[in-house]
Every structure is written in C-alpha cells, then in structure tokens.
C-alpha cells in the first residue's frame, strides 16, 4: 500500500518523502494557460489559488527531487470540465510533463480529456480523479477501458465497497481518501464553486414542509428534524472548515480514515491519499507522519484493533472518534467501537 501526499513546492519534497510518502501529487498553472483562458476556467480542481505551482521550472525541480529520493509524482489536470479550445494545450502540457519533465502519472476527471490524452500520447499513465464519481465496479471498468491505470474513489465510498471494487477489477489500482478535507456533498456531482464560499458552509435557515399525503408535520416531527439539522451542522463543522485547526495532540483536524487502514490494506486498496496541496507545510508533514505511523503498524503485524488504538491515540480526540463525526469511514468505528 502506498501513501500519496500533496505538495505545491519543490522545497517540501524531502520533508514529505523523508517522512514516509511514496508518491506526491501537485498542480501547475503555466502562464500561457492564464493568458489564454479566463480565471473561470481552472486548469485543475484547485484553480488559480496557492494549491498550484506557477511554472514548469518548479515542477521540474519537484519531480527531479522526488525521483532522486525514489518517490513518484502525479500531476493534476482534474478540472470537472473543459472545452474543445483547451484540449490541445492540455495535451501538449501533459506530453511535456511526461516526456521532458518525467511526471509519472496524470490525474484526470474529464472523460473527454482522458480520451484525448490517450489518442495524443498513447502509454500515458492516467489516474481518474475522485471528481469522476466512480462508485461501482462497472464504472471502474469503464475507465479501465479508456486506458486508466488507477481510480481515486470518492470520499463517500464505504470500505466494503472499495474492497469489493478492488476485488472485482484487480487490474486497476484503487486510491482512497485518508486524511484532511471533507466534502458534504458528492464532489463530482456538486455544481457549485468554492469561490463563492463552500455552499455547505452557508448559514442556512431550515424550514420543514410536508409534501404528498403527509399531512401536517407534528410538533414532535419538527423537533426531531430541527435537532437533526443541528447535528448536521456539527458534522459539517467536523468535515469542512478545519483548515487551520489542530487536535489536542497537535495534529491537523479534519476528516480522518486512519482506523480503516488495516481493512483497506487487507482488501487490496493500493493507495491512501492525504488532501491539501494548498495547506501549510507543517500540516502536510504531520499528516504524512500520522498515516505512515498506522501503515507501519499494519506492516509490523499489529492487529486491526491495535491499529485503531494507535490511530486514536495519535488523534487525541476520543469523543470525536466515538461519534464518528470526523470519520471518512465511520462504519469502521461504529462496527467495532473505539479502543481508547
């Protein structure tokens, strides 16, 4: 099992690889792209913000350092959608990144770009982004048929579902989310933009109305729904908007899947993804260290229960771990209980 870490600068590579990352992913927004296309047309999921590097020179430095240290580098070209005028530039960038800079894989969400890349430069290694919303084995096969080598499963995939897909389509690597940013909705089916603020962090006022033959909602019904909405707000708070927070043990807050690592490993999942290209270097470092510690526990032969205890000790948030509100895979904790 591999550990994939985010980065946005060559200077972070030694730190991340030295702490246990096997693979890195990054993005770049070359000046030619911003010259030709509006800011409304992001080159990848992180748009023009600090998650991306600005020059191919930086990308080259990053790749050279990673390769010297034995790590692979993946380049994100995973905007949810493109148009025809953008495809030639993207194909050219992909070819240059692969042939001259040495990128090991491209991360792509759009079926049109994936197909164009395979036609333009056969043999490119492509990983399908979580934005493609692959939730079943047939969808994994769909992207395999288009030439993809790996599929990154969406956040809201259960462990048993990931394992079933890994077993059903063993010739495609599967990658899953393991730490940091959450999404309340399905990222690949969310039609909003974060530039207006994440819609899930909107200050919503809720009102509940009956539909169909329901008749009036009782006061008890309304109380239950209002309580549920309040809990939903707490859950959202645990999944998004945790950018700068840390737990009592000093590790970054945000969604966590550490307890699921033994089951994911046993089930044949290939790679664990830490989120946050734009995050401070410290957050990336501590994130990689957490994941690697539990992965090492698995390698050392620790039981699933021991690994969960290790993970929850690292986090230092027993109440949150018990609630499952901070979990990518709450079913793991809820089925087995916590050990701390």
């Amino acid at each position: 099992m591999r550990l994939l870490a985010p980065t946005n600068h060559p200077d972070e590579v030694e730190m991340l690889v030295g702490s246990g990352a096997h693979e890195l992913y990054c993005g770049v927004v070359p000046g030619q792209w911003t010259d030709r296309h509006s800011l409304a047309a992001p080159i990848n999921r992180r748009g023009s913000g600090p998650g991306n590097m600005q020059t191919l020179g930086e990308l080259r430095d990053l790749v050279d350092t990673a390769h010297r240290l034995g790590a692979l580098v993946h380049l994100a070209l995973n905007a949810a959608t493109y148009n025809e005028a953008q495809v030639p530039f993207l194909c050219g960038l992909a070819a240059e990144a692969a042939d001259e800079i040495g990128i090991d894989a491209l991360i792509v969400a759009d079926v049109g770009l994936l197909s164009a890349l395979m036609g333009f430069r056969p043999g490119l290694r492509v990983h399908v982004s979580s934005l493609a919303a692959v939730h079943n084995s047939q969808a994994v096969r769909f992207f395999r048929d288009l030439g993809a080598s790996r599929v990154i499963l969406p956040r809201q995939t259960r462990v048993d579902e990931a394992v079933a897909m890994a077993r059903a389509v063993p010739d495609v690597e599967l990658e899953v989310f393991i730490l940091n940013d959450g999404c309340i909705y399905e990222e690949g089916h969310c039609s909003t933009v974060h530039s207006a603020g994440p819609i899930c962090l909107t200050d919503w006022g809720y009102s509940f109305r009956p539909v169909g033959a329901a008749g009036e909602l009782s006061a008890a019904d309304l109380d239950v729904m209002a309580d549920n909405a309040r809990a939903y707000g707490e859950w959202i708070g645990c999944h998004v908007g945790q950018a700068d927070a840390v737990t009592p043990t000093g590790v970054p807050s945000g969604p966590c899947g550490l307890c699921a690592i033994p089951a994911l490993h046993r089930g044949g999942v290939h790679s664990l993804k830490v989120i946050g290209r734009e995050a401070p270097a410290y957050k990336k470092l501590r994130s990689v260290q957490q994941v690697r510690a539990v992965m090492d526990g698995v390698s050392d032969g620790k039981s699933a229960q021991e690994c969960r205890a290790l993970a929850q000790a690292i986090r230092g948030t027993p109440e949150l771990c018990r609630s499952g509100f901070g979990c990518y895979y709450p079913e793991v904790v809820r089925m087995t209980g916590t050990t701390t």
Binding site: A116, A132, M225
Partner: protein, 334 residues
C-alpha cells in the same frame, strides 16, 4: 448560437416546443393512469380533475403554463420520464416498476427510465429493472447518471437507448453566482467558459457515440448554454422548472430518525424515505441580507433551485430554437 439574457428576456418563443416530456417520480399513485388521460396530460394537469386521490393538487400554475406553452394550450406530451436521478434507494422496487411500465405502455407513450448514481448494490437493482424494461418495452430510453450504468446498459441491454443524464454534464449551476453571469462586467472569455462544458470536446462526444449516446440532458441554467448541438450531432433535453444544485450520499432528512452515534454515514441503514414526506426550505441568511438569491429546496439528498420566471422563459426559448426536448417536472423530481 448565443443565448444572451437581453435577447431572451425580451423575446417570447418564436415557435413551439417540438417535443415535451413529463417527468414523474412516481406513476402508480397518480390519477391519470388511464390511456385517455395520458393523451392530454398537460391539459389534464391544467384542469380541474388534476386532484390526486391523496388530495394533492397537481394543477400547473397558470403563469408557468403560459410560459411553457404560449402557442399551444395543451400539447400532447410525447414521452414519460420516471425514476430518480439522485438516490439509489429510490430506484423503484420491482412491483412499482412493472406497474409503472404497464401504465405508460397502456397510455401508448414511450418511456424514459431515469437512474441515479449507484454502488455495486444499486447496480444489482438496476440489472433487474433493466431486464424487465428490455423485455417489456424494448427501445425505451435509460437516463444514466453514472459511467458504470452507461457501461452496463451498453454491454448488456443493447435494445435500450442510453441517454446522458444531467448530473453528467458539468455545467455550473450555482444560483449564488450564475444569475450574475449576464452582468456587463463579465468578460466574454469567462462567460464562454461558464456556458460550455465537456460536451464541446470532440473526444468526449466520440466516447458517448461509442456508447450509443446521442441525447444529453441539461439543466436550465441562468448563464445560458452556448453549444451548437446540431453541429455536434447531439440531441439536447432541458429540464424545467427545477434545477439541481448539488447532491451526495449523505442525506440530511434520512438521518433524522437515527441516534447521534449512527448519523451521517453511508452505512446501509434502513431508510424511512422522508423524501416522500418532507421538503426542506433552505434560506441563505447572509444572501438574504445582501439581497442575493437565497431560496433553495432540498428533497432527500439533493438541493434544487426553483427556476425564476425569466429563467423558465429563457429555457423555453432555447429549447424551441434548438429543437430540444423540454422535460417538464410538475414537482421536484423526488
């Protein structure tokens, strides 16, 4: 092929919609099962006998009716959609599905079965329904909102016609932003980016063609759609008057009955289907203070925007000019 706001707002459709489909989430509980009523469905919905056995009044708002059908008071719908685009737990069970297929068949109308994104478990449900659909109504359309479902239909149900669902066309549908896309300060390049999507890419269309897809479903979006479907060899459908904003597997109302320690996971909890009973109004309190768009509606796991009158008019105009199918949703499709 532009679809600018000033152009749309000032112009009534200069021709009628060529093809109207009606999208019903459930069929078996509706009053117009008999074939005779199907033939004038929209007229029925406009008339006094649109009241359902459950007491619901399904008449179309007269203003909406006038917007949709300015030149023809009662066009005959040519197709019925049913199913759910958003939640695999709302895939009709076998009995409901077979009864619905039979009702539409009796009405003499073609059928479009709408399907959601699915897990492997949901795929299993769909295989069973698609087997029935293929044997009872070969040639029916299947709206796919999942690449895996598209592969399944193409591989195993070749007498069914796959249609690319609206979750698959990645147009921006953020009502916080898109109503302002017509503002004078918006650059042409930015506006163009927001009015197109991957359907514009030749290689994307090649993939669709290889899967037997030549129809694509679209939401009626504030910024307009700037794609030449005739030139692209695709047939569009446009949905009114409800657009979807976002969706996901974590369903707010479905968790209401669960104890806190089991809330907000994707575990296979038995769902009491509150989406059939409760609609949630979402008010953006900050936007309300700013005077922006602030009203949304959530049914089940999905947030919708109710299209404004100018937006419906824009969509109708666009559909008439493009020869697009107008998919009319009398209710939020849940």
């Amino acid at each position: 092929m532009t679809n600018g706001f000033s152009e749309v707002r000032s112009a009534a459709p200069d021709r009628d919609i060529q093809e109207v489909a009606v999208y019903l989430s459930r069929i078996t509980d509706l009053p117009f099962r008999e074939a005779t009523r199907w033939k004038g469905l929209v007229a029925t919905l406009s008339g006094a006998d649109a009241r359902c056995p459950d007491g619901r009044d399904r008449r179309i708002d007269p203003d909406l009716h006038a917007l949709l059908f300015p030149h023809d008071a009662a066009p005959r719908p040519v197709r019925v959609y049913f199913g759910n685009e958003f939640c695999e737990l709302r895939i009709p069970n076998r009995r409901e599905f077979e009864a619905s297929c039979a009702a539409v068949h009796e009405a003499g109308l073609p059928l479009t079965f709408v399907t959601p994104p699915v897990t492997d478990e949901g795929l299993g449900f769909l295989v069973d329904r698609l087997r029935h659909l293929q044997s009872s109504s070969p040639g029916s359309e299947v709206v796919v909102n999942d690449w895996g479902v598209l592969r399944l239909v193409r591989a195993e149900f070749r007498s069914l016609t796959p249609v690319l669902g609206r979750l698959m066309s990645k147009l921006l549908r953020d009502p916080r932003v898109t109503p302002r896309c017509g503002d004078p300060g918006m650059s042409p390049g930015a506006l163009n980016s927001l009015r197109t999507c991957s359907l514009d890419i030749a290689s994307y269309r090649s993939v669709l063609a290889s899967c037997g897809v030549d129809r694509v479903e679209l939401d009626n979006v504030y910024q307009g759609i700037d794609l030449d479907f005739r030139a692209m060899g695709l047939r569009p459908s446009i949905y009114v008057p409800h657009g979807y904003v976002t969706t996901g597997r974590i369903c707010l109302p479905a968790n209401a009955h669960l104890p806190r320690h089991r809330k907000f996971g994707t575990a296979a909890e038995a769902c009491p289907l509150p989406c059939l009973r409760v609609e949630i109004g979402l008010t953006d309190r900050r936007a309300l203070a700013d005077g922006g768009v602030h009203q949304y509606v959530q049914r089940g796991n999905t947030v919708f925007y109710r299209q404004s009158e100018p937006l419906v008019s824009q969509g109708v105009t666009w559909a008439a000019r493009q020869g697009a199918r107008l998919v009319f949703q009398p209710e939020i499709p849940f």
